[in-house]
Every structure is written in structure tokens, then in C-alpha cells.
Amino acid sequence: MSEKSYRDAVRDALREELIRDERVLILGEEVGVWGGTYAVTRSLYDEFGGKRIIDTPIAEAAIIGAAVGAAMGGLRPVAELMTINFSLEAMDQIVNNAAKIHFMFGGQMKVPLVIRTPAGWGQLAATHSQSFEAWFAHLPGLIVAMPGTPYDAKGMLKTAIRSDNPVMFIEHARLYGVKGDVPDGEYTVPLGVPDIKRAGGDITIVTYSRMLHVALAAAEELSRDGIECEIVDLRTLRPLNMSKVYDSVVKTHRALVLEEDWTTCGMGAEIAARIGRDRFDFLDAPVERLGQIEVPVPYARNLEALMFPDEKLVVQRVREMLS
């Protein structure tokens, strides 16, 4: 084991797959010479050259469209969108093409494509602070991964690159510096399998990506008062595997879904509906959701500070749910 940042873990996954399989290539804006907006691809251009680490013109629709074509043409492209906000420019290629080609073509063509892109915020304002995972999780044909730790990020990215399906691999700008233990040797983490990140018997917190860390910090605080949270990290949002959530709810009888996105029509709505349908008799309280305030994200620091649930708010909500 070594302690590694999320950024380095993602880069290691890319590097190992570039070495393992010569069909893998990376394309996107600023991924080459500059080494990626968040320095994730740094040094890969020097090691693998401009034919496999490709700086593209500014045109997200063409980046994804070309990646879809290259994937059908026998390569395994990893396309980077500078931030998830720019996925909007490529929506038709993602929604109508990447996600549906295998189905529409009667299985004749596969699209083994990974789209890597960070969500995140931090005085990036209305158009640059969004978190569209629920949009992508809505789509049959797509796999949506949103790992929260360096270990999961590396292992899941390797699986994503080897998958014959298109994978939306959503990272987080505020996670890149987060450190965690990563095995030194080869390993993979499956897609579609949640993970219990903390065991506890009083309440289930269902979460993913950066909010995992907010949940862990809140759980630590609550534990001092004898309240034990069980934290289920979804890791993959589509396909959504509920079995660990259900097992946990059967034990705790209460669930809070913690997401960074707006809650309306979000992941929490889906999870609450499924728990309500499948484990209704085990619930002692309605499933609760916490997410961002339902306005566009402002720039002003004093206002942005109010936007997202923090550890304090999670602690408060859990106490309310248990009282």
C-alpha cells in the first residue's frame, strides 16, 4: 500500500492501461502539453507522445463524437471533458450516440469509451459548478461511475477502460488532492457494486463522490455522542445496485441520502423511491435527502458558502431524524 492522492491514483490507472493495451488513447482539451486542467494527465504526453495523448481543438461535441467513432473503429478512447459543465456541449453524442449505438445497431457495434470529467465547485459560479450525474444516471446504455476515494478511483477507472460499454466516469475537482491508501500492485474494482465505508446501527447515510467525505466527518462527530451511522458509498450510479443499501436499512430503519446536486429529480429521489417500495416495512421514518439549495451556484464566497450541505448540516439532520 502507498498513500496516494486521488489525482495520482487516476493518473496511475490511465498510465497502467496505456501500457497494458495499445488501443487506449486519451483525447481532450489541454490534456497533452499542459497535462490537464487539474493536472491529472501530467507527464503522460512526455511518456506516450502526441499520437496517444491528444490535445484537441475546443469542440466537446467533436471530442466525444470522434471518441465514439474511434471506439467503434477498434480503439479504447478515454476522452476528457475539462469539467462536467462542458458535457452540455456534447450531449447529443453522449445521449443519442454513445449510450444507444450498441442497442440501435442490434449489438453489431460496441462503444468501449470512457468519458472522464470532474464535477466540483469553488467560486466557479453558475455555469461551472454543476453536478449533472443524475442526468447521466437517467440513461439506459450508459454506466455512470462516481468514485469518492483514490482506491476506488483507480480500480474503477481500470475496469471502465476495459469495459465494452460507454462509461461516464465523474471525478471531483475538490477530491483530486484527497489522499488514501492504494495498493502498489495491479487490482481492479468492479462497476455497479456499492461499498460500506463505515459500519453503524443507528442510521444509514447513502452517498457518493465528495459527499462521502462530508458524511464520514459527520459520522465521526455523531459517534462521539453515541450515534453510529452506516455509510453506503454507491460508487456507481448506473446500474444502481441497492442491495447494500437495503441490508443497511433493514438494520438501521432510517436513511438519509446525501448528494451535492440539486435534490429535485436527483439521485436521492430515486433511492428514496426504491427504499420506500422495497423496504417500506422496515422504515421508522421517511427517507430524507440533503443536497444543494435550488438556485444556480453564485460566485460570491459568502453566498456560495450557503449552497452545499456541510458536516454541520448533516449532523443536525441526523439528530432530527433520530429524535
Binding site: E29, V33, P57, I58, T127, P298
Partner: protein
């Protein structure tokens, strides 16, 4: 379309064929605004380094573009600028405090702390804020021009953008719309050679960016973007043609971004010191100063005085803006819709209750 129009010749005199023939007071105004922009730029970067503002997009080296184009605009024209064109706003009379207030995102910001720095908006001068995703302002500029045409207004719209912007789908679609609907639109591309770290050779294989206009059925012109008189002339002519119903123009201004892409960038990774030094030699402000000196309109003393005056104006504006309070908490829920809906009023009250 690959040749480039210049006015100020290497010896500092104006080419009589191209000289827009501006009156003396306008020439001096252009100089003062360019000096003001440079002082603004230097101060903003220093403020960012000192942690007093969060982010800034500099325009040093490109002052001739925004000031020259801004001077050609008239009342009623629509401005859809890139984030480097606060010079256009200054030329249209937007106060320094408004621009600076936007950067601080406090109560001095008319847009109420909603967007990243360098996203200026001022309805009184028909200045439409850039949206962060590159080139989204281009089709909007076409639509605004179309609306003006339909309403019988004799005005034009200008959209400015970088070389990287020409790679986007929006650029091509907007150019095509402008051609098909013959809108009074001037597409003003400031080719500063880089899109963050990526050189213009990665944005196009064409011999110029101006040549792209041909495919959409209208004129494309290349101009020396470090020559404020040349920019003034070419943009002025294009705007006049647009207002006269003669359709759109694409202008490619050749220039260079002397500083970083933004305060988050380190250009030494992708550009050589020699390249930057060579472009510094063509500094638009020094070049214009040489022209004005040759005409007997300025001398070393008045050049220094203009720089000092600009610095002082910026210092004063910083003082005013830093004294403004933060944007109020309640404003977070306002302007999401045309009127405050009940559900946001409830959310506001709930948050307020939670804070107490």
C-alpha cells in the same frame, strides 16, 4: 484574406491609404483608455496574488483590439464580448467601479456576485455578459442583430472571441446563420495565438481564420491587432456596413496575449521567453505612443503622466469597491425567475430560520 491591414507603419507614421483620420481628441482618448486598461490589468493581477480577488482574465497585449473596436461602436449597438474585452465596456462609458465590482462580486457588482470575474454585463450600454462556455455568445449576437433588423433599428452587434472559439460548433453555426439571414453582425476574432496552452495551429489547418468567412458567404478581413488605428478602421467600416444593411463581416485581429491565460495559468510551460519578448516589442501601447509622439501629440512627460493618471484612477476604484459590503444573503434566491416564486421564498425563510 491572408494579408493584413495595418495603419501605423514601422517608422511610426500612418499609412495615408488606411488612416481612419480620427480627430486629435479621439486619438488621445484611445491612448488614455489603453493605458487605463493596462493599469487595470496590472492591479487586478496584483490583487489576485494578494488574495483580495479570486480570479482575473488579463488582456495585456490586446488593448488595441478592445479599445479600437470599442471606439467604433455607437449608441444602440449590441456588445457580446469575450472575457478579455472589458476595453469595449470602458470605451462605451462603463465606469471602472462597475468592472471592478464584478470582479469582487460584492454589492458594487450590478450582477450581484453571480458570475466568475471578467463576466461583465451592463444593460445601459447593451453589453451582454459572456457565458463561461466558449463561444456561446456568438449565436446570441446574431439573434440580437436579427431582432434589431426586424425592429427597424439601424444598429449592429459585435461578438468577440478568441482563436480557440473558432473551433466550436457555435462559431460555425452562428456564422452560417448570420450569412443566411444577412444580420448586421461583426464577428471579431482576437487571434492571440493560444487557447490556454494550445497554439492556434491546433485549432485550424486553414491559412487564416479570416478565410472561414468565405464558406458562409461574407467578407473576412485580417487586421493588425496591435495597431489600434487599424482595428478602429476595420471594425468601424464593418459596423457601418452592417448598420447599412450590407450584412456580416468576420474580422481576424492578429495579436498576442502577453500575460497568462488567467490568474490560474503558467504560460512558461508552453511558450518560450524569446517568443514573448518578440511580441513585447510590438506592444500596442508603445506603438501607439510612438505614433502620437511623431504627430507631436504626446511626449515622454505626457506619456508618463497618462500612466500615472491611469494608476491613480484604478487605485481609487479599488478603494470604492473594497468599501462595498458583501452581497446580501437574501439575494441568493432572487432573480432565479422573473419574480420570486413561493417555493424560493420558502427556501429562503427556512435557511434564515436555520441560521438563527
Amino acid at each position: 484574406m491572408d494579408s493584413m491591414i495595418s495603419v501605423i507603419r514601422p517608422d511610426g507614421t500612418a499609412d495615408p491609404e488606411q488612416d481612419p483620420g480620427l480627430p486629435e481628441e479621439d486619438l488621445l482618448l484611445l491612448y488614455r483608455k489603453m493605458a487605463l486598461l493596462r493599469a487595470f490589468d496590472e492591479k487586478a493581477i496584483a490583487l489576485q496574488r494578494a488574495g483580495r480577488i479570486g480570479f482575473f482574465v488579463p488582456s495585456a497585449g490586446q488593448e488595441a483590439c478592445s479599445v479600437g473596436a470599442g471606439h467604433a461602436l455607437r449608441d444602440g449597438d449590441w456588445i457580446f464580448p469575450s472575457y478579455r474585452d472589458h476595453g469595449m465596456a470602458l470605451m462605451r462609458g462603463c465606469p471602472l467601479e462597475t468592472l471592478l465590482g464584478q470582479i469582487y462580486g460584492n454589492a458594487a457588482d450590478p450582477t450581484r456576485g453571480r458570475q466568475m470575474p471578467s463576466h461583465w454585463c451592463d444593460r445601459s450600454i447593451r453589453l451582454v455578459s459572456v457565458s463561461s462556455p466558449v463561444a456561446t455568445q456568438l449565436p446570441q449576437a446574431v439573434g440580437a442583430a436579427y431582432a434589431a433588423k426586424l425592429r427597424g433599428e439601424k444598429v449592429a452587434s459585435i461578438a468577440s472571441f478568441g482563436d480557440g472559439g473558432t473551433s466550436t460548433g457555435e462559431f460555425h453555426a452562428a456564422m452560417n446563420f448570420a450569412g443566411v439571414f444577412e444580420t448586421p453582425t461583426v464577428f471579431f476574432c482576437e487571434n492571440n495565438q493560444y487557447a490556454i496552452s494550445v497554439p492556434v495551429s491546433r485549432q485550424t489547418a486553414a491559412s487564416s481564420l479570416a478565410v472561414k468567412a468565405q464558406a458562409y458567404g461574407f467578407r473576412g478581413i485580417r487586421v493588425d491587432g496591435n495597431d489600434v488605428l487599424a482595428v478602429r478602421k476595420v471594425v468601424g467600416d464593418a459596423l457601418a456596413r452592417a448598420r447599412d444593411g450590407k450584412g456580416p463581416t468576420l474580422i481576424e485581429a492578429l495579436t498576442y496575449r502577453i500575460g497568462p491565460h488567467s490568474t490560474s495559468d503558467d504560460p512558461t510551460i508552453y511558450r518560450s521567453a524569446e517568443e514573448v519578448a518578440a511580441w513585447r516589442e510590438k506592444d500596442p501601447i508603445r506603438r501607439f505612443a510612438a505614433f502620437l509622439s511623431g504627430r507631436g501629440l504626446m511626449d515622454d512627460a505626457s506619456i508618463d503622466a497618462a500612466a500615472a493618471e491611469a494608476k491613480e484612477a484604478v487605485r481609487k476604484a479599488v478603494e470604492v469597491v473594497e468599501a462595498a459590503p458583501p452581497v446580501p444573503f437574501e439575494s441568493l434566491f432572487e432573480d432565479v425567475y422573473a419574480e420570486l416564486p413561493w417555493h424560493l421564498a420558502e427556501a429562503r425563510d427556512a435557511l434564515l430560520a436555520g441560521k438563527e
